[in-house]
């Protein structure tokens, strides 16, 4: 084994890098308990801004809207992303496969302004030709979020699918199981942790998106990032610090659950 020194350059960088990632968030959380309206001056501990936050009807309704959209988008994205992952890992020779794989991996890097603009133009054109969607809002944001979240789900699920032992599936099919039944009885339980983490990832991505939602939304639907953004543009405010703290805690919890599920299934696999 290569000896690794206790204080090597890379280890120091790792610690510094993690500090760089976490310190700004810690500062944000600490200052959300600041009594002062001025963000830079510490005036004692207070939960005043949290109370203020829970009285803000605009923010509360935006939270509800965002949660609904994220739930529906994540659910649909898991279905589409899993199908894509199946095509990617199982159907090696199929016409159109290359096109599908380009379309599913492109949203991972596509600048959001382009995705948002292109989907808006589609919805406008659709409204003119087939009369739907007459109003842009929840449904259009749902479609947009589903599309880009599917890409992330496909990555997570295909990583898991590649590790599934296919001989069990083949045995089930040889014994007369239909492909559909094989999927639900054999494959699904094995990839379930990946589906849950994919769902959670899609949920947080949808909850977080500002740019795409701003393009495809209409006057009726305001999501949480849109409210936060319009307030943040005016500068730093302690109420937004309080909101940010709650979001960081909630999302960290979701991410931790996803990580834990993946880890446990990995350990189970290694043991067997």
């Amino acid at each position: 084994m290569i000896k690794s020194q206790r204080f090597s350059f890379s280890r120091v960088m790792l610690v510094l890098g993690l500090l760089f990632l976490y310190l700004p968030m810690v500062v944000l959380i600490v200052y959300s308990f600041n009594a002062s309206r001025l963000v830079s001056v510490w005036a004692g501990f207070s939960t005043h801004w949290y109370g203020e936050l829970f009285r803000d009807q605009q923010i509360l309704s935006a939270v509800w809207m965002s949660l609904k959209i994220a739930f529906y988008s994540a659910s649909m994205a898991v279905c589409l992303g899993t199908l894509c992952a199946f095509v990617m890992t199982r159907f090696k020779r199929l016409r159109g496969r290359t096109l599908l794989s380009s379309m599913i991996s492109a949203p991972l890097v596509m600048p959001e302004v382009i995705t948002g603009l292109s989907l808006l133009l589609l919805f406008v054109e659709m409204a003119q030709t087939i009369g739907w969607p007459a109003d842009r809002g929840m449904a259009t944001i749902w479609i947009a979020h589903t599309t880009f979240c599917s890409a992330y789900v496909a990555v997570v699920v295909s990583a898991r699918l590649r590790e599934v032992d296919r001989s069990v599936e083949e045995a089930a099919m040889d014994l007369g199981c239909t492909p559909l039944k094989t999927f639900f009885v054999i494959t699904l339980p094995v990839i379930a942790p990946a589906l849950v983490s994919g769902w959670l990832l899609a949920f947080t991505l949808s909850l977080d998106d500002l740019v795409i939602a701003s393009f495809v939304s209409g006057p009726g639907a305001t999501t949480l990032p849109m409210v936060v953004f319009s307030s943040v543009r005016m500068g730093v405010s302690p109420k937004i610090n309080a909101l940010a703290t709650l979001i960081i805690l909630a999302v960290s919890l979701i991410a931790f659950i996803a990580w834990y599920l993946m880890r446990r299934s990995e350990e189970k696999r290694k043991r067997s």
Partner: protein
């Protein structure tokens, strides 16, 4: 009378498999065709249109008169983009800022990934969570956190003044420095994770052989580790560079009046000037600019997804 034979069990199975394949392939294919590919065609179409005061605010490109289709292709948007120095400066500014940020991410991210890959198996899981967690947490809020830190009355200036390093606040917020810092901060996990995935698969025996043969550790790194982690470096760099070129939130919140980035210009053309055709042609030129990095990324991604372990 020729009797119709019942299909053989094998045929039934083959047919069932083919049918399921078609459904499994067809649903996501149609969805992405409609909601991913078709929209780009529309962006291209509308980039040839011109803005009018109407709903929707652009002139139709195809018109049907007496059963004939007439196409009006208008290149004026593109000519406009290339004649106005503002747009060229914005494209150049975006590429420059994205490039510098990618470099910063790589310089911080590579050693981090290296140390992670060398840690014990139990520690790796924890480190993986620690690096992944910020990328899940709200992007907008993580950028916003820097506003409170970098401002003239912000934490960093107060700290530096208290330490006596500076006597009056440094202007850090609303500069290109803040934008680069913000992008590097927001995208760092996307650089670390692909490089880590790559380094962790590195065959340790190669390194042992090199050291047995008297290779110094730095030479081993340059001649073995670095070349073998090329795929991870490229994937990570693309994951940072491509979205950074079109970034809107970070230049809007951390940048200043002299920060020219194309994502911000596109947003303003669309939302403030309501000039959809110009916004569309801006998007098309941006895509053309990013085509090579996107194809490069896609190739790596496809190889990664199709690989059999």
């Amino acid at each position: 009378m020729p009797q119709k034979l019942p299909p053989s069990p094998l045929m039934v199975r083959v047919r069932a498999v083919l049918f399921h394949r078609r459904v499994v392939f067809g649903i996501p294919f149609l969805w992405l065709l409609l909601f991913f590919l078709l929209p780009f065609a529309l962006v291209l179409k509308i980039s040839f249109s011109s803005a009018v005061m109407a709903i929707p605010p652009y002139q139709p490109v195809f018109t049907f008169v007496d059963n004939t289709v007439s196409v009006v292709v208008n290149l004026s948007n593109y000519l406009f983009l290339f004649s106005d120095s503002l747009y060229i400066a914005a494209y150049w500014g975006s590429v420059k800022i994205a490039f510098v940020s990618t470099l910063v991410c790589l310089l911080i991210g590579y050693p981090m990934a290296y140390a992670m890959a060398r840690a014990s198996a139990r520690m790796q899981l924890v480190l993986l969570l620690l690096v992944m967690l910020p990328s899940w947490t709200s992007f907008l809020i993580r950028v916003y956190a820097w506003m409170g830190i970098l401002g003239n009355q912000g934490l960093l200036n107060n700290l530096l003044m208290w330490l006596g390093v500076i006597s009056e606040p440094l202007k850090m917020l609303n500069t290109n420095f803040a934008v680069v810092l913000g992008i590097a901060y927001a995208y760092l996990p996307f650089m670390v994770l692909p490089i880590y995935t790559n380094l962790v698969k590195l065959d340790v025996r190669l390194l042992e052989a090199a050291s047995d043969l008297g290779c110094r550790s730095l030479t081993t790194f340059w001649t073995i580790t670095l070349p073998l982690s090329k795929a991870g470096i490229i994937a990570g760099s693309m994951l940072v560079f491509i979205p950074a070129v079109g970034e809107f939130v970070i230049p809007e919140l951390l940048g200043g009046p002299d920060t020219l980035m194309i994502g911000k210009v596109l947003w303003e053309e669309f939302f403030n000037n309501r000039d959809w055709p110009v916004a569309s042609s801006l998007a098309i030129v941006m895509l053309a600019l990013l085509l090579i990095p996107i194809v490069l990324f896609h190739r790596l991604q496809a190889r990664e997804m199709e690989k059999d372990d």
